[in-house]
């Protein structure tokens, strides 16, 4: 497959994935019993993360898929206007990949290496033990 075909195909695949992930995200953050009772709080998120490692896995997947779809869409828009010609296109692509990696590292850092959300860390163990 050519690069452009893969690019087009991935935008559709990630779009479909985002539809499912976003509905799950809406449900979990707005409509679950504990959220409807008290509103979303840090404690609710922490309990989930301690109880079920899939939450962090799904959240990080969602984050990466959303960043890819968003920045790839932005790249399509930029190139579609036709102002950016051939040699500069690689520069724009590299810049967007850099931005994407930065956002991914930034976002993943909110979950991983966060002692408040990691039951294995000493701080997390203290919080978990206190319950």
């Amino acid at each position: 497959m050519y690069g452009r075909v893969i690019n087009w195909y991935l935008q559709r695949i990630t779009g479909a994935a985002l539809l499912v992930l976003l509905i799950m995200h809406f449900w979990v953050e707005h409509f679950t019993t504990e959220v409807r009772a008290h509103g979303l709080t840090f404690e609710i998120i922490q309990k989930r993360f301690f109880a079920n490692p899939w939450f962090v896995a799904v959240d990080i997947t969602f984050l990466i898929v959303a960043i890819y779809h968003g920045l790839n869409g932005l790249r399509n828009i930029i190139f579609d206007f036709g102002w950016v010609t051939k040699p500069m296109r690689i520069g724009v692509t590299v810049l967007l990949i850099g931005l994407g990696l930065m956002l991914a590292v930034w976002g993943i850092g909110a979950f991983r290496g966060n002692p408040h959300l990691n039951p294995m860390s000493s701080k997390g163990a203290q919080i978990a033990a206190a319950r």
Partner: protein, 130 residues
């Protein structure tokens, strides 16, 4: 008045459906990228539980709830028109793609939007406490 509107829609609605859809997808897409970056910025606060709860408290204020309702509209438009685009790409309903924009993306989208926005308005804005 009504006939003037229906005449305008009949004259331009189908002709420009593709163009309108194109711009709707771009503008909502750009807005969602902007929101995504702000959203990632907010979840960084998970590293400090107190700051995070304060941020959530701020976002429960009516002004932010209005923004959230706007976000719902933006997401629904982008998602439904995205589904339409994918169907067109797959060759499903090629001859009906203009109708699909108005009836599916705008029509079904408006129903979904109201189903979400009315409770958000009642519970998030009208009954907002503190």
């Amino acid at each position: 008045m009504t006939s003037a509107i229906s005449l305008t829609i009949r004259k331009y609605g189908w002709r420009y459906a593709g163009n309108v859809a194109f711009w709707v997808q771009r503008l909502t897409g750009l807005a969602l990228v902007g929101y995504l970056i702000l959203h990632i910025h907010t979840i960084r606060d998970l590293q400090n539980p107190k700051t995070f709860d304060e941020a959530l408290h701020t976002f429960s204020k009516p002004l932010f709830k209005m923004g959230e309702i706007g976000l719902l509209a933006t997401v629904i438009l982008h998602a439904l028109n995205g589904i339409r685009l994918t169907m067109v790409d797959l060759g499903v309903g090629l001859t009906k793609q203009r109708q699909m924009f108005w009836y599916f993306a705008i029509g079904v989208g408006a129903v979904l939007f109201l189903a979400g926005a009315i409770p958000m308005f009642i519970y998030g804005i009208l009954n907002h406490h503190g």
